[in-house]
């Protein structure tokens, strides 16, 4: 990954994060969150994690951001939070994360760094040896003209060989979450008249 692109996307991610905290309008915050996540997705793609990067954009920018904005609109919060931030919390909120960041920096600096090793066509061809010849992964890795890193296939293989049970659990979790959301919104609808 070119350093330039790395710095660009890192800047996007960090700037998006700072804006998310700094904007008073929640809608602006949501949009800067998307900016930050786009930057992150760029970093992911730069790390050859194409699948994760795309999913990051699809899920966060596509689904979650819409959900946030939708809820903000639904609750009509545009004009909320005209009040200024309290100085005590602002000070705390800057000092504590700063300490944390410094600590992380300290830890990172004491470690040997690992240099980036690009994935070349040679590595792909060498890697192809360890996969069955008639499989899609092998075909993609050892493609004569355009060998590619089939990371979606590799993740899929990983999930379905080593993470079968967690996958089931995640499925159950999604189901429970769906039911939970339905129940939550139904209950409130029912109890609402008695509340007011």
């Amino acid at each position: 990954m070119h350093s330039l692109l790395f710095y660009l996307f890192s800047f996007l991610a960090v700037a998006g994060g700072i804006l998310l905290v700094a904007f008073r309008n929640p809608v602006s915050s949501a949009l800067s969150m998307v900016l930050s996540f786009v930057g992150l997705a760029g970093l992911f793609i730069g790390l050859n994690a194409y699948f994760v990067g795309i999913v990051q954009i699809l899920v966060y920018a596509g689904a979650i951001m819409v959900l946030f904005v939708f809820i903000i609109m639904l609750l009509d919060l545009n004009n909320e939070e005209k009040v200024k931030f309290r100085s005590s919390t602002v000070v705390l909120g800057i000092v504590i994360p700063l300490c944390l960041a410094l600590q992380i920096l300290g830890v990172i600096q004491s470690q040997d760094t690992k240099e980036f090793q690009p994935i070349t066509e040679e590595t792909l061809a060498a890697a192809a040896e360890s996969f069955p010849e008639d499989g899609a992964i092998h075909k993609s890795l050892a493609h004569e003209k355009t060998p590619k890193l089939p990371d979606t296939n590799l993740i899929g293989q990983q999930i379905f060989t080593h993470y079968n049970f967690p996958l089931q659990v995640i499925g159950a979790l999604l189901l429970v979450a769906t039911i939970g959301v339905v129940v939550l919104s139904k209950r409130t609808a029912k109890t609402r008249p008695t509340d007011s």
Partner: protein
């Protein structure tokens, strides 16, 4: 083969669970389900009968060097015992269908029976002591549930509690014994034990002879609880508060025999020769003999038909324990085998009588039943003869073997006790028989008695046949858990048992034939027998006194030290600290988040930077 054995073990559990979870409302279905599962297990037990088969154990838990295994020991010993358990079990289920027909908690009853069958099967098939101990406790639980089946009656609830608590005393010893045995040998499987002791010269064991003896005596404590040996025998007569089929199954044929079974298992695993070198093994024989004698004496003065049978069970169990103590587990198990059939027969017969007489249990209010209930009369008669050891019935052969082993080991004291008990057995059983079945009707209830239906008398007939034949070689060789056929010969034991039979029979006939009331009721000595040697009262006094003393001390400590200083002090301290920290609970999310962040920084600092 192995799969079949697992099915035998699992099926009753499945039935119990199904009934408990799903069939609470359909009483009849649950009854048929339990009976069906009992029948299938009987058939499977007959199928797997035969030579020892290979058994694989699987690991259940591993704690350091200790590997706890769940496995089945499928040798002829266990398989023979399975026949007894499933055979009697199935007949009792069948009998219960009729006996409990109108009970309003039928599904609970059959659930309990299934649970019991499961636990008993577990004891019999267990391949190691730990597994046996677990099922041992389960058996205690199911026995508790079934004794207390009519828990609305205080006496039934109390009896259930008494049985459970008394058993706990024995089980405690059992557990310590198992642990000690494990400490000595490093194994707790039966195979491992026999491997350990096999070929080991007794001298090798000298340093640990004492510990080994103690551990075996402690394990025997478990048997004392389950098999109701003196001084832990007090629960068994009270356990008769449960439904009569339960008494037949649990408190006559199978569960109470588990102690004897377990001891025989222990003896065969360790090896009778090795046991012979330990000290204190005579204690076991003497406890058996004393139980046997005490119980027989008490039985002579009971009026409740089930109580008489209960004491006779105690006495016969004493016999078996005595045989085991005489290093002849074969004889003990053979007696267990024959006794299971005829005692189940007697209990079921008494159940039929009680059922016919509208829950009248006092024998003095029966009488003249031979005309009203001919089949019951006949089968009960056969059972009585077998129990008395009448020549050529099953009981004769097995009792003979026990007397033989007493004579063989030159324990003439034990031999005399055994012969005296044989005489007393004849005496009280014929007393029961004469009063309940012969003579005139002594009450309306007995007058209106009718013969019971086929569902009840079919099990009686089957059991009667077995009571007659199970002592013979062709049956015993194939079915009995341990059977050592010795050629029958006329010797001291034979003469003793025949004369005991004659004397006991004559006395009983003289005193009770056509008697209207008990001629011995006012005799001082017999009053003691009637009141069970006042053992229950003694226990009550002892326990009460000890309890009061301990309670007074505990009360003092509780009031002053615990309540005043510890609890009070802590509660005051907690209250004070709570008030201080309560102020920190601002309910402000941002404050919490900031504190949380500070905490994270602190943790990182302490873990990463300080060290």
């Amino acid at each position: 083969m192995e799969t079949l054995a697992w099915i035998i073990l699992g099926l009753p559990l499945l039935s119990a669970v199904t009934i408990h979870l799903g069939l609470k409302s359909s009483k009849n279905l649950s009854a048929y389900l339990a009976t069906g599962s009992a029948f299938i297990t009987l058939v499977l037990a007959l199928i797997i009968l035969g030579p020892e088969t290979e058994n694989r154990a699987f690991e259940w838990a591993t704690i350091g060097d200790l590997k706890i295994e769940i496995g089945l020991q499928l040798d002829s010993f266990a398989k023979g015992m399975m026949i007894v358990v499933t055979g009697v079990g199935f007949l009792v289920h069948l009998f219960s269908l009729a006996y409990m027909k109108d009970d309003n908690a039928k599904e609970r009853y059959f659930c309990g029976l299934s649970l019991f069958m499961f636990s008993m099967t577990g004891i019999v098939l267990a391949s190691n002591f730990l597994m046996m101990f677990m099922f041992w406790e389960l058996v205690g639980l199911s026995s508790y549930l079934l004794i207390g089946h009519w828990y609305e009656k205080d006496s039934a609830a109390d009896a259930a509690k008494k049985a459970f608590l008394t058993n706990r005393i024995g089980d405690f010893g059992f557990m310590i014994g198992i642990l000690m045995l494990w400490g000595i040998t490093g194994t707790y499987t039966f195979d491992g034990l026999s491997e350990f002791f096999d070929g080991a010269h007794p001298k090798v064991l000298v340093p640990s002879v004492t510990i080994l003896s103690v551990s075996i005596l402690l394990i025997f404590m478990g048997a004392m609880g389950k098999s109701a040996q003196a001084p832990l025998h007090v629960w068994l007569p009270d356990a008769m508060e449960g439904p009569t089929p339960v008494s037949a199954l649990i408190h006559a044929a199978t569960m109470v025999a588990a102690g004897v079974f377990m001891m025989a298992r222990l003896y065969t695993s360790i090896g009778v020769d090795t046991i012979g070198h330990l000290w204190g093994m005579d204690t076991i024989a003497w406890i058996g003999a004393i139980t046997s004698l005490l119980a027989a004496l008490m039985a002579t003065q009971q009026d409740d038909i089930k109580k008489i049978l209960a004491y006779s069970t105690l006495s016969q169990l004493g016999y078996m324990v005595m045989a085991v103590g005489l290093l002849d587990p074969d004889a003990g198990m053979f007696h267990l085998f024959t006794h299971a059939w005829f005692k189940a027969l007697l209990f079921l017969g008494s159940g039929a009588v009680i059922y016919a007489c509208h829950h009248e249990q006092n024998i003095w209010k029966m009488g003249g039943l031979q005309k009203k209930m001919p089949i019951t009369f006949l089968t009960f008669g056969i059972g009585t003869l077998a129990l008395c050891g009448f020549p050529f019935t099953a009981g004769f052969f097995s009792k003979e073997q026990i007397l033989e082993s007493a004579a063989h080991s030159k324990q003439w004291g034990l031999f005399a006790v055994a012969a005296l008990v044989a005489c007393l057995t004849t005496f009280y059983m014929l007393r029961l028989f004469f009063i309940a079945f012969l003579g005139k009707n002594r009450s309306d209830k007995a007058n209106h008695a009718k013969e019971v239906g086929p569902l009840m008398f079919v099990p009686l007939v089957i059991l009667a046949v077995l009571a007659l034949l199970s002592g013979y070689q062709f049956l015993a060789d194939n079915l009995s858990p341990l059977y050592n056929h010795e050629g029958f010969h006329v010797g001291a034991p034979f003469i003793a048992s025949i004369s005991a039979l004659v004397v006991g029979g004559f006395l009983s006939w003289k005193l009770y034939f056509n008697a209207e009331s008990d001629p011995l009721a006012n005799n001082g000595l017999f009053k003691i027998f009637r009141n069970k040697f006042y053992i229950d009262e003694l226990y009550a006094k002892l326990v009460g006194y000890a309890q009061d003393t301990v309670a007074a001390i505990v009360h003092f400590i509780d009031e002053l030290v615990i309540n005043g200083l510890i609890v009070g002090g802590f509660s005051r301290a907690a209250g004070g600290i709570g008030r201080i920290f309560g102020r920190l609970q601002s309910g402000n999310l941002q404050g919490y988040a900031a504190l949380f962040g500070l905490g994270v920084i602190l943790v990182i600092y302490l873990t990463v930077f300080v060290s």
